[in-house]
């Protein structure tokens, strides 16, 4: 068995034979042409044919994947109508006295280069579109038809990379999954794979080679892995994973786009907890209404030194953009206690859970905090970001935090950097102290989110990592539920909203109690969104 790791584009498991996508390789020769005007005419008629083909593809894509995804073929037509593009090709033919193929290939390289050198991953990805439209003209000029894929049974399509028109032209009923050597998660192939619900793994690199053509394989789209000639154990595990996934997808089909509303008409937002940028795909796949808790710790844990403002900004912006206007609540760093990072140089503590952690670090070392806040505010210009602060125990702390936020906003304004000045600020309710003074806290913030794991640990004085204490740990302890209820009443008395982002939020035995308390939002792991929606709709 050979295992290759790549990047996941769309979750799901597919099992089948690999078919390597074959295309006619174009070798472009530079030829000297005397009759340049005839050559220009040859290019123009190929261009007209290409536009006709694109119109056909647009109509096919409209039916298969909808207007939003079909639009790319309309944009391809506009590229072929672009005077800069046409003039460049005609100029090369006339001035260099060369064949149309050479002029098209040269122009395509130049324009692709322009996109590839832009400072934006999305625009860099558009270089593939230029190549795709140009390749279409080259095929027409040389009289090639698209070779594509010929298969009698459904297969896993493997390729170096696929351009949008190749993906759309594939017979969908014959495609089990995609595996490519290159490509980005922003490429249209990735987007189309997600839209068509086809498991896909990209960026597998050179290890994926044509010698695997015809071999049995499994794509695990969740982990971004392809197994070639899988052993029995892997096959059994993957078949099970596939069944579970199909059951989940069936549930999704039933519940997708449905409201989180009880039989009596009470609405509640169901958001997702994530710990990394890559998790956003799972949130969207499970139809999450937003992100209720984006733990920013990964940026610190995966780094050897303090992550820069730019690194943080990029991550926050990407999540905000991918969520396209849906709420994204990002929690500032919650390092300390069970999450230790060397370069923070934290002293060894007798009792780290009650020690120097989270907001306490931020208020003691404001330079670390301000770097994160600047990144968060800058990212706020790119989506619907809210900021949430962990481990709060007093109103005084909140006032200090807000003063630092105000400083950061002033600095950004002075520097002319755009941000959303109305970014919502909220706090975690995860200490009994915060729950008890929640009326006063609610006056200072826009929202609460209850961290039930820590709230339970601090209320019951039970170390949640000590398995020996399990018999004493009643996760539904009335004291914890009373603190949540108290916080909800106090939030609502001040006109603020309250959510739950700890594990109890996903505890279906408590959903009805939470609804009775008037909890406005439940944030759970992506896989729990649909089961929770189901529970809410039945309540």
């Amino acid at each position: 068995m050979i295992t290759i790791k790549g990047k996941s584009v769309f979750g799901g498991v597919s099992i089948g034979k690999i078919s390597f996508y074959k295309r006619n390789e174009q070798v472009i020769k530079r030829l000297h042409i005397e009759a340049t005007e005839e050559e220009v005419q040859r290019f123009q008629s190929a261009r007209a044919t290409a536009i006709e083909e694109l119109k056909g593809l647009y109509n096919k894509a409209m039916e298969d994947v909808g207007e939003a995804n079909a639009a790319i073929f309309e944009i391809h037509q506009m590229m072929l109508d672009d005077l800069d593009y046409i003039e460049s090709i005609e100029n090369i033919i006339r001035t260099q006295e060369v064949n149309a193929e050479f002029a098209v290939a040269t122009t395509a390289d130049n324009f692709a280069q322009m996109f590839a050198s832009m400072d934006d991953a999305y625009m860099q990805g558009r270089a593939a579109d230029v190549k795709d439209v140009s390749e279409r003209i080259l095929n027409i000029l040389s009289g090639n038809c698209n070779a594509g894929m010929v298969a009698d049974e459904p297969v896993i399509i493997a390729a170096d990379d696929l351009v949008p028109s190749e993906t759309v032209q594939l017979d969908k009923s014959k495609v089990l999954g995609f595996a490519t050597m290159y490509g980005s998660s922003n490429s249209h192939t990735s987007i189309l794979a997600r839209t068509m619900n086809i498991p896909a793994v990209i960026g597998l690199g050179n290890e994926l080679s044509e010698q695997f053509d015809g071999k049995d394989a499994i794509i695990d789209g969740f982990t971004g892995t392809i197994y070639i000639e899988p052993d029995e154990e892997t096959m059994t595990a993957m078949k099970k994973k596939q069944e579970e996934d199909l059951a989940q997808k069936a549930l999704l089909d039933q519940l997708r786009g449905k409201e989180n509303i009880t039989t009596s008409g009470q609405k509640v937002n169901v958001y997702a907890n994530i710990g990394n940028v890559a998790d956003v795909g799972l949130v969207l796949k499970n139809d999450g209404g937003g992100i209720g808790l984006f733990r920013s710790e990964f940026l610190y844990l995966e780094s050897e030194t303090f992550p820069t403002e730019e690194e943080q900004f990029t991550a926050y912006k990407q999540v905000a953009e991918n969520m396209a206007g849906k709420k994204v609540i990002i929690r500032t760093l919650d390092i300390g206690a069970d999450k230790q990072v060397d370069y923070f140089n934290l002293d060894k503590e007798e009792n780290p859970a009650l020690g120097y952690r989270a907001i306490r670090i931020c208020l003691t070392q404001p330079e670390i905090f301000k770097t994160q806040l600047r990144a968060l505010y800058r990212a706020s210009a790119f989506g619907n970001i809210s900021i949430m602060f962990p481990m709060i125990i007093s109103v005084d702390e909140v006032k200090k935090v807000k003063a630092i936020c105000a400083e950061v906003m002033e600095e950004l304004t002075a520097a002319g950097i755009p941000f959303n000045k109305d970014t919502e600020l909220g706090i975690m309710i995860e200490t009994p102290a915060a729950a008890i003074v929640s009326r006063d806290l609610a006056k200072e913030v826009d929202f609460f989110s209850v961290g039930t794991n820590d709230l339970t640990q601090y209320t019951l004085a039970i170390d949640r990592q000590n398995l020996k204490l399990d018999p004493f740990c009643d996760t539904h302890h009335p004291a914890v539920l009373a603190l949540i209820k108290m916080s909800a009443e106090n939030a609502h008395a001040e006109g603020k909203w309250i959510g739950i982002c700890g594990e109890l939020g996903a505890d279906l035995e408590l959903t009805e109690q939470f609804l009775a308390m008037g909890i406005d939002e439940l944030s759970v792991s992506p896989g729990m969104i649909l089961p929770l929606r189901k529970k809410i709709r039945e309540s």
Binding site: M78, D82, L83, Y85, M118, Y122, G325, A381, F382
Partner: protein
Amino acid sequence: MKELKYVITDPEGIHARPAGLLVKKANEFASAVKIGKGEKSADAKRIFGVMGLGVKKGEEIFMTTEGEDEDAAIAGLEAFLKENL
């Protein structure tokens, strides 16, 4: 010549799809239409130029129209920007 300024609010900026729509809109008018950001500018009737500006959310762009229908063009483009970007 008529001119307008506009700050992009679409979270994705002028990516391929809105660029395509903008080019389509600009082509509805006989006037010459330019789009620019800072010191860079491009012919708004050509998609590569518009996409090449790489305009992002929060950035200010300017557009100019010049020709017999320049008034209608600037009004049409302004309405388009407000609705789509």
